[in-house]
């Protein structure tokens, strides 16, 4: 069972307390964008087999959205961080690189 620590309230929450919210750090495109940009914002997802950055909500806890780095091939969790982050924090990236030397890094 997946366990994530909420970066706001510090609670170690398991899957049933959390609501998954899909890929993190999507760049939103709206009116004025090209068809390509809009299509890829709506539907194209990284869907990696390995390191992935996601949105989660502490649904049955503090109710806030946060972000998590997780391996989709092993379910290992690398860490969580606040939803206000533009990209994953440098320490987290370094920690993932230490564990997954072959990883091409955050793109």
């Amino acid at each position: 069972m997946l366990t994530l620590t909420c970066p706001y309230c510090g609670v170690k929450a398991e899957e049933t307390e959390l609501a998954p919210g899909g890929e993190a750090h999507l760049k939103r495109f709206g009116p004025g964008s090209t068809d390509d940009e809009y299509e890829s914002y709506m539907f194209a997802r990284k869907n990696p087999k390995g390191v992935h950055f996601e949105r989660w909500r502490h649904a049955y806890g503090c109710g806030k959205w946060f972000l998590a780095a997780r391996c989709t091939a092993t379910l290992e969790v690398f860490g969580t961080y606040p939803a206000q982050s533009k990209e994953p924090p440098a320490e987290l990236i370094a920690a993932i690189k230490a564990k997954r030397p072959g990883w091409e890094g955050y793109k």
Binding site: M1, G22, M42, K49, E54, T72, T74
Partner: protein
């Protein structure tokens, strides 16, 4: 290939069953083929089969990283139905269902198709309205389904509790010619027929790269060397994103785990398939007597082919009210498969940015029932560049906003 028949059984019985042949060859990969199909699941094998049968294209290799049928084809709960709402879906699923009717004869391999009847329970008023609408749509599409009242449901499924306080049974969408088939046998039957036509099914061989030149695929790299091809078909379900990336394009597909479980075998107690979409559970009884139960998907990307306990709990908790008999059953096994979900929950049978490369994926939680129809359409698309059955399933539909919206119609799809 020696044909299977009652005479063959008699002949072998008289000589200690020593004369059975291997069902398919295990060849070394050649350096080039006219067509390479990546993925020996049901859809990949059916594509190869209809390329040969309908178009005479037999210089074909089907390349599989594990063993054939070891992906979702060998992990699913084998429900076959075609009671979909939208015309393009009804057309391809009904084509598949009708091919299943004679598939054993066609392949000379018993796929144990069992059109035992299928009920989709309506347990909320919303579902009642939805299914009545589906019955009308199916009538127009020429798919035989009917709406049945609770008393008829009880007659068809004596073990059901129709007046559960939380999930009463208000009726059902009934497809009398829906049912099940033996999942492995479907893959094995197609594999044997393909091998018999001279096609190479290459197992334990993973595609690791796609070679292209000037917008055309020239071949694939595999763990057993490079293989050139004139046309490439990618049919790898949960790994579609990975193989598409090798070919240099992205897909509107995400991989999640879907799981199922079976109980200990019991005496025959239910001879139809029952789906309860409100509670995300579905059940049938296998020929061995096990209750085969399917549940919901994980909500997050997952490649682990495992399930999670809370989904089992959720599924069983809800099913127990409708089927009180299962509360005392021991569950024997549980497993997961990685399903490929698209943005509109409908499949993709499509051309790709590479001219001679085609993709068939996105069957998600419900593609076993579609195997013959999907293979039929994909073979036509690959051979002729166009297939009426596949026309609406092109991936440009996401860009054009032309969705085939079935998840709303069915709540859960499989």
């Amino acid at each position: 290939m020696k044909r299977y028949s009652v005479f063959a059984i008699a002949r072998e019985a008289l000589r200690y069953h020593e004369g059975w042949e291997r069902a398919w060859r295990a060849p070394q990969p050649k350096s080039a083929y006219d067509v390479v199909i990546v993925g020996a699941g049901g859809h990949g094998l059916a594509t190869a089969y209809y390329l040969g049968k309908n178009f005479g294209i037999t210089n074909v290799a089907v390349i599989e990283k594990g063993w054939l049928g070891g992906g979702n084809t060998g992990r699913n709960t084998t429900i076959i139905r075609s009671n979909y709402l939208q015309d393009p879906s009804a057309a391809i699923y009904e084509k598949a269902r009708s091919l299943y009717e004679t598939l054993s004869q066609d392949l000379n391999y018993n796929v144990m198709f069992s059109p035992r009847g299928l009920l989709m329970l309506a347990q909320t008023h919303h579902e009642v309205r939805g299914y009545l609408r589906t019955v009308h749509a199916n009538t127009l599409q020429g798919v035989a389904t009917e709406w049945i009242e609770p008393a008829k449901v009880k007659e068809l499924v004596p073990i059901i509790n129709i007046d559960g306080p939380r999930y009463p049974v208000l009726g059902a969408l009934y497809q009398a010619r829906g049912g099940t088939a033996r999942h492995d046998a479907v893959a094995w039957g197609y594999a044997r027929a393909c091998s018999d036509m001279g096609m190479d099914i290459i197992q334990q061989c993973e595609v690791t790269g796609v070679r292209s030149e000037g917008g055309q695929v020239t071949g694939v790299e595999t763990t057993r060397g490079a293989i050139a091809c004139k046309k490439l078909g990618i049919v790898v379900a949960g790994h579609s994103g990975q193989v598409a990336e090798m070919a240099g394009f992205r897909l509107p597909v995400e991989a999640v785990a879907l799981q199922a479980l079976v109980s200990e075998p019991i005496k025959p107690c239910m001879d139809v398939v029952v789906m309860a979409n409100t509670v995300h559970g579905y059940m049938s009884q296998s020929d061995k007597g096990e209750m085969v139960i399917g549940g919901g998907t994980d909500g997050f990307n997952n490649f682990t082919q495992r399930g999670s306990f809370q989904h089992i709990e959720e599924t069983l908790r809800a099913l127990i009210e409708t089927f009180p008999i299962i509360s005392r059953l021991k569950m024997l096994r549980q497993w997961g498969g990685i399903v490929d979900m698209t943005g509109d929950r409908s499949p993709i049978i499509s051309k790709t940015p590479l001219g001679n490369c085609f993709i068939n994926c996105g069957w998600g939680t419900g593609g076993f029932k579609a195997i013959p129809g999907s293979g039929w359409a994909m073979a036509e698309l690959m051979a002729k560049g166009h297939s009426p059955l596949a026309a609406d399933f092109g991936m440009e539909r996401f860009r054009e906003g032309r969705f085939i919206d079935e998840s709303v119609a069915a709540g859960v799809a499989h």
